[in-house]
């Protein structure tokens, strides 16, 4: 019964937006608008869910871990979550205190974590980027030109570098990406179809 209801809801939500895309019928347009607006609201609830999951995992970390650092980290994480939420819910996400936490912790935190990638790239470049075969050779060739084409020093080394780099991106890269894009599109279509019709092995939820 519950499984049937789930399958029916999944199917209906999908088929309505598909039909409304192809057919200009009044009631379909209304149904599409309703379903989409509801989707935004349910997604907003789901956003909060992810954070609750995090709370759960970290409460477990506090109660079951033997490592003191683990416990301290979990407490800090939960405290940060609670403080941020309370300030945001009472004073709003554009208040001064909220902005201090956003600009002081959230924004620099994420951008530094992303930026750290440059270090792993450098050591992988040194240790692992070997021209072992044709594949690796082509990869190195194209990456070297694209890297040098992205910065002024490339042109200083050889004036042709920007043009070659642009050509690699616009022609062979474009063609290859297009092939992958079409293939991935077919794959995503197939996944969507299986999901709508409930023939996927992976369970919803």
């Amino acid at each position: 019964m519950l499984r049937t209801a789930t399958l029916a809801v999944t199917f209906l939500a999908g088929i309505i937006v598909i039909l409304a895309f192809f057919f200009d019928v009044g009631f379909l347009a209304t149904a599409e608008a309703r379903v989409q607006d509801w989707g935004v609201i349910v997604a907003a609830f789901a956003l909060a869910m992810a954070s609750i999951n995090l709370v759960q995992v970290n409460i477990r970390r506090i109660s079951s871990s033997d490592d003191a650092t683990e416990k301290i980290c979990a407490v800090v994480l939960l405290a940060a979550l609670v403080v941020m939420s309370i300030i945001g819910l009472t004073q709003g996400p554009t208040s001064d205190t909220y902005n201090v936490l956003f600009d002081g912790i959230m924004a620099p935190g994420q951008s530094t974590v992303w930026a750290l990638g440059v270090f792993y790239i450098s050591s992988a470049a040194y240790r692992a980027f070997r021209v072992k075969n044709v594949d690796a050779g082509l990869l190195l060739f194209s990456s070297a030109f694209v890297m040098l084409g992205a910065v002024p020093i490339g042109e200083v080394i050889w004036s042709g570098i920007p043009a070659v780099s642009q050509w690699i991106v616009d022609v062979p890269n474009m063609a290859g990406m297009r092939g992958m894009l079409i293939g991935a599109g077919i794959g995503a279509f197939s996944g969507g179809l299986r999901l709508l019709l409930g023939i996927d092995r992976t369970e919803v939820g």
Binding site: F22, L116, G117, M180, G183, G187, S190
Partner: protein
Amino acid sequence: MIQGRQFTLLLFLVMSVIMLYAGNYVRKGKKTIKIRRLSAVEAIPEAIGRATEAGRPVHFSPGLAAITGLDAPQTFAGISLLRYIAKLTARYDVRLIVTIRQPAVLPLAQETIRQSYLEEGKFDALSQVDVMFLSDQQFAYAAAASGVIMREKAAASFLFGAFWAENLMLAEVGTQVDAYQISGTASIGQVPFFVTTTDYCLIGEELYAAAASLTADEVFLGAILGQDICKGIMVALLVVGVIVTAVGSDLFVRLLSL
């Protein structure tokens, strides 16, 4: 019917019908589908063989994605490959270490391994298996998993599933301990880094094909057959359209714009 979407609707229907038909065809067992050879898959026994000779453990990661959402199929494909790899480690008595980022994947991995060891009749050898939940934080997981690979000096490292910016940390530490590394991900943005740092890499959809070929899962196989036929149609549209356009007719441009 909305103008300019007729051909889209036609293709939409054709693709749907083909995929459903192919799925049914495989499920009813009318024909066994053979997946082409994938060199990354063929290299797995060799990697485990090397670990046996060296007496060092094998590391496996099913990626960082959860079991729900858009990237979930990658996690399931990773678990399917784990099933195969665990059978080999059971057979050759090699220590297996699995590192996990998603709490929900932990029981899935444990059960899969248990099943594999049972099927190989090596239930006692399960004590040689470590399935570790490390952290649900992306980089904390990657740091901890790198630490495990480094300390245990893994002789082989398998990275199959969804990975993001942290993949280089994992693959690079594998290089440092001279592990034989085989990777696979459908997160196309990460493939370049796997291709450069690991010995073999399953690119994009190859991950699913590998999972299907090793487990003979009907849903996977049916999907692959359906997608192959659809790709055939796209190739035909491409080739015929290009030829017709080259001859000077805009027939296909107009057809696809309908």
